[in-house]
């Protein structure tokens, strides 16, 4: 208790609070601006904290982290461009809702969902993190393979409504993920002798191409009609009843978010898609997904915020970062002479408390800034497109370049912009493609690692956790296909009746 009071007194001085507000604000900017990500913000500002004491430095970085992931909401909702990879799924329903004239409602849902997801992961972080992380390290390559297999089977769910096109998009994503050095043996695949392709296609240029560039192309060609926007909504523009109705969705999505945050290599970039697919599968009105269904926004935004808390769990209790942002954060800790590791909890309890406090304060600041910013942000929609798009275009170029300081990535982005344009034009969903791209290489890596361990494929089924996830994945595909066929039959009988 004394430690807590000491941490509180250190972390809640005016200077530190100001820094935390600044951290959240910088994070929100990095998250909001398409092309800039929380990872980049972290990489840029870690050196800035070298000059600070550990407490303000770390509080600042934690706030920047949460701000960065939360900020993705705004661009996703208003522009249909995910500000960061962690808000890809947010675009699917928040953008249509915004186009239907309800941008404030979409943002309100996002802010509340973020808060709930963050709060649930905060509770997990503070109460049971040593237990969960001890459990998480038991996951070997077999379990990882099975989990990713299951997540990948959700391509079917995301494709629901236009199964053939959706699965095609999923395979396109897998194909893009194959480019570059193969996992483990480093064999070159589809590199065409181009040096830059050895490292494969980067996630950020791919996303910026598929969403931002294709979006700009579509708008230039004048496909979208502008709608009257309702700027008058009060508060968060949503009712308590609606939140309660989405209670289970929020809890499930937050659990997915926390779990994916803990597991290395996954994180908020994947959790939002998986939570979204799960919400779509569980929904009775899944045909409304992609057209402005509030459930989709609740799922995506609560999952990505929950992943932030989730990724801090193994970092604090075991010294193992859950994702790329926390990996950079770890580097930041080391410069302050704090070696994160299994001793971190016991040897630096007051820094651990600072992390908790900063996380909590960050959640409040995020809601605060977004609540007051909501009405301001939505004014972006009134900016004429001929001014808005050039700015976005430049920003995405900066973002694509920064990943590797490589011009090549900008061309990759442009290429995927053109590909995305044709896909969207012809009714192919983008979500399965992203999921295939992110998960395909991970699936292959863990498959090969697992086979390397024992060389026995039956182990995938004799290992209980692995067997469970593989069966769940197969069941998910069969179930989705069946209901899709049923829907199609119903549709065709309806059509004949109408005739």
């Amino acid at each position: 208790m004394d430690v807590l009071i000491q941490s509180l007194s250190e972390a809640l001085t005016p200077f530190v609070i100001l820094l935390m507000a600044l951290g959240v604000l910088i994070g929100l900017i990095f998250g909001t601006v398409p092309g800039l990500t929380a990872t980049m913000g972290m990489a840029l500002f870690v050196p800035f904290t070298f000059g600070l004491d550990p407490v303000p430095g770390i509080a600042f970085l934690i706030c920047l982290h949460l701000g960065g992931v939360s900020g993705g909401l705004v661009a996703s909702t208003l522009l249909g461009i995910p500000g960061t990879p962690s808000s890809i799924a947010t675009t699917f329903d928040a953008y249509p809702m915004s186009k239907n004239g309800e941008p404030l409602r979409a943002l309100g849902i996002g802010v509340i969902a973020s808060l709930i997801g963050g709060a649930l992961s905060f509770v997990a972080l503070v109460t049971i993190s040593p237990v969960i992380s001890r459990f998480a390290v038991q996951m070997g390559p077999f379990e990882f393979f099975a989990l990713i297999f299951f997540a990948l089977s959700l391509v079917a769910v995301l494709a629901k409504g236009s199964m053939l096109k959706g699965i095609t998009a999923g395979f396109l994503g897998l194909a893009a993920g194959i480019v570059g050095f193969a996992p483990i043996d480093g064999l070159q695949r589809y590199t065409l002798g181009i040096l830059e392709l050895k490292g494969g296609i980067e996630l950020l240029p791919l996303i910026m191409g598929l969403f931002a560039i294709s979006q700009i192309l579509i708008e230039i060609l004048g496909d979208s009609k502008s709608q009257d926007i309702d700027f008058k909504a009060k508060g968060f523009a949503i009712s308590l009843v609606e939140i309660v109705k989405n209670g289970w969705n929020l809890v499930r999505s937050s659990i997915i978010g926390i779990a994916f945050g803990i597991l290395p290599g996954l994180g908020s970039g994947t959790s939002n898609l998986v939570a979204y697919a799960q919400a779509k599968q569980a929904s009775k009105t899944s045909e409304r997904f992609g057209k402005g269904a509030p459930e989709g926004i609740y799922a995506s935004e609560s999952a990505n915020s929950a992943s932030v808390g989730g990724s801090l769990i193994p970092m604090l209790s075991l010294g193992i970062p859950g994702d790329t942002v926390t990996a950079i954060l770890l580097g930041g800790f080391m410069v302050h002479g704090l070696q994160p590791g299994p001793l971190f909890f016991t040897s630096n309890p007051h820094i651990v408390n600072v992390v908790f406090i900063a996380f909590f304060v960050a959640m409040i600041f995020v809601v605060f800034f977004q609540f007051f910013g909501m009405r301001l942000f939505t004014r972006v929609l009134t900016v004429p497109k001929q001014y808005l798009f050039p700015v976005i275009f430049v920003l995405t170029i900066v973002g694509a370049y920064t990943t590797n300081s490589s011009i090549f990535d900008i061309w990759v982005m442009v290429l995927f912009g053109v590909i995305g344009f044709f896909l969207v034009r012809n009714g192919f969903p983008i979500a399965p493609m992203i999921l295939g791209f992110i998960l395909g290489p991970l699936l292959e890596t863990y498959l090969r690692r697992a086979l390397m361990t024992t060389g026995n494929p039956t182990d995938f089924f004799t290992n209980p956790i692995s067997a469970l996830f593989i069966l769940a994945g197969i069941a998910c595909v069969i179930f989705t296909l069946r209901s899709e066929i049923k829907d199609k039959r119903k549709q065709s009988t309806n059509n004949t009746l109408n005739l």
Partner: protein, 328 residues
């Protein structure tokens, strides 16, 4: 529809144009050399921000300008196993404004044919910080020393599993242990440092290697046992840990961060770096900051570094030959 086709064609065309270029940079002129450094120096780091290599480079870049008046920026290019950063520096002008900062992963990557070119084609400028690596086993492992582990591995070939990143330095460290002790240790790909720690904590592997700073934490927490520092002398920051050499196995593999420039860089520029680095090695603030991350400065001038780099390249090649002969 015509509009779309045109756009696609332009996009493709530019992509193809951007793809080709492999040449060497031009020599620096006399006046360039005399004025060096009068521009921002870019140091390419083939690693992600926040990691050990990146931290080492950033600490150096922060303190070195006291002795070499220049603005130094770090460019992180972790993609393609470092091939992009390597090529950018190799093909750059030889005027000393584009340099490469990395460790022996450059040698191992070339030995397993992931990197086309070898460091022998670069100018080795000097070495900076180094980190000792330590073999670790889980606290409930039956092995207390490297000898225990080797004795078990002699009787049970391919039973001891070692977690590494295939093709990287950790893979070579495990392979070297196998060669020097004459045992068959099963080398698995587990992934990055954090994945290896997870694997050892979760009991999926028997043996792993990690930096000395990391080890102390896990040893103190009662999770790991350290069974051998991969060096001939004990680590100053952890003198209680036994080395592999004193246990009778010549497995030395401290990770040494080394600065390279493009091939045939002017001697005068290299000399300016060496002089500045010599002063840096004495700098208290620099050493203090390194120590926080459990690194120590290792001072070698260009000549020494060249020999060191060539030796390391040969060592990596020797291990890789053994590796490939195992496969065939």
């Amino acid at each position: 529809m015509r509009k779309q086709g045109k756009m696609a064609a332009v996009g493709m065309g530019v992509l193809i144009l951007a793809a080709c270029s492999t040449s060497e940079g031009k020599q620096a002129s006399e006046s360039d050399i005399a004025a060096y450094p009068n521009k921002t120096i870019e140091i390419y780091v083939p690693a992600s921000p926040g990691g050990q290599t990146d931290t080492a480079a950033r600490v150096m870049a922060k303190h070195l300008p006291k002795y070499l008046e220049a603005n130094i920026v770090i460019v992180n290019q972790a993609t393609a196993g470092g091939a992009l950063a390597f090529e950018n520096v190799r093909a750059s002008d030889k005027d000393g404004y584009k340099l490469l900062f990395h460790h022996q992963a450059l040698h191992t990557a070339h030995a397993v044919r992931q990197l086309e070119h070898s460091t022998d084609e670069l100018t080795a400028i000097g070495t900076y910080s180094s980190v000792n690596q330590v073999f670790v086993v889980s606290a409930n492992s039956p092995f207390d020393t490297l000898g225990d582990l080797v004795a078990f591995a002699e009787d049970n070939p391919n039973e001891v599993t070692y977690g590494s990143q295939i093709g990287g330095t950790t893979h070579f460290m495990g392979e070297l242990l196998g060669i020097e002790s004459g045992t068959e240790i099963k080398i698995l790909d587990v992934g990055s440092e954090s994945d290896r720690m997870t694997g050892l904590l979760g009991g999926q592997i028997d043996l792993a290697v990690t930096g000395v700073g990391n080890v102390l934490n896990y040893v103190e927490s009662g999770d790991f046992k350290a069974i051998g520092v991969l060096a001939d002398e004990r680590d100053e920051l952890a003198p209680e840990l036994e080395t592999t050499v004193e246990q009778g196995y010549d497995v030395q593999f401290p990770v040494v961060h080394t600065l390279y420039g493009p091939g045939d860089m002017p001697e005068e520029i290299v000399e300016k770096w060496n002089e500045a680095t010599e002063k840096l090695a004495e700098d208290e603030a620099y050493n203090e900051e390194l120590e926080k991350t459990f690194q120590q400065h290792t001072l070698m001038n260009s000549e020494e570094t060249t020999i060191f780099s060539q030796e390391e390249m040969k060592k990596a090649q020797r291990i890789a030959d053994e590796l490939f002969s195992d496969i065939q």
